[in-house]
Symmetry: C2
Subunit: 192 residues, 2 copies
């Protein structure tokens, strides 16, 4: 019986190796050869799964955006949380351990590249539309829920950049204080 290779698993392991290379040294560090070396496979094995560097980068970006969005969906619906608990929950969207820091670094590298790569910009746009719609639905069915979701998503992105570029300057208390300036506005009037 031939050995069964889990193609999905191998594909995702290579996308993962690409993400780690990008997080460590930038997008130019994730060529097919470097990814092959990092994944301990031949370049031929990489090109079997990805027919170009672009396809590999697309897969790495998609995996990162999926993990960042999954973090957001991990808690209870945000509309059911108190302002304190919502601040605590939103803090988990931000870089908070080695894995999420890696994903955010990849996010920033891709966001900059998307400025000059319409295909990545389209991927970004679709991912953000999904994330924002999900968050707005959780906040409430009030018409301003979309503006609140836009605000939370933008705030998280802006904070993530600061936390990555000023790693010593953002203890949990500072992050919490910033989030507490906005989370009380995310509740229905009658609950404030």
């Amino acid at each position: 019986m031939p050995r069964i290779v889990d193609h999905e698993e191998r594909r995702s392991r290579l996308a993962d190796a690409a993400a780690t290379l990008i997080a460590d040294a930038g997008l130019d560090a994730a060529g097919l050869r470097q990814v092959a070396r990092a994944g301990a496979v031949t370049t031929g094995a990489v090109t079997h799964y990805f027919d170009s560097k672009e396809a590999l980068l697309d897969a790495a970006y998609a995996a990162v955006m999926e993990r960042l969005a999954a973090q957001q969906q991990a808690g209870p619906p945000v509309g059911e949380l108190t302002a304190e608990a919502l601040a605590g929950h939103v803090a988990t969207f931000l870089p908070h351990d080695a894995d999420s820091l890696r994903d955010w670094r990849v996010w920033l590298a891709f966001s900059a590249r998307a400025l000059v790569d319409p295909r990545l910009a389209a991927q970004h746009r679709a991912a953000y539309a999904r994330i924002t719609a999900q968050l707005a639905g959780e906040i409430s069915d009030r018409p301003e829920a979309r503006a609140l979701a836009d605000m939370l998503v933008a705030l998280v992105d802006g904070l993530a950049i600061r936390m990555m570029l000023e790693p010593g300057d953002w203890p949990a208390a500072r992050v919490h204080a910033v989030l507490m300036t906005v989370t009380p506005t995310c509740f229905r009037e009658e609950e404030r």
Copy 2:
């Protein structure tokens, strides 16, 4: 009498040419030769002012951060504005014309590069410390002014990225609605 060359002006014109190249095509597009061509001078003239590509990029980044910070200082102290007026003022920090869009694109390219370039990260950190201290001072002398300034700065950064990568999706009304979710919290209690 020898012709007097305004060295500061020429230096800043070359940094400006570099910023335009970066905004259009990314950081790798701003080599000494390309900047010389864009500035209609010889490569020797560029190296007269900047002894390396790094020095040129530093100058371009510094000029961009200075312009973005100057925009913030252009209005009245934010603590004196109504929530509506503050939302309108903060909207002018965001990409709103060709020049500010160029500067924000350069900002994003540099922010990503700063992940793997400690010198740029230090430049980023110093610029943000200045911007945030200025904004906090304008908001009020309440202790939470710093958290509010951190919040506004992060929100602006996050929104700027969305506006750049989804150029058709952010009409002024959407930006205004997002800013209005937070500007009422920037006032003293007694003024709300």
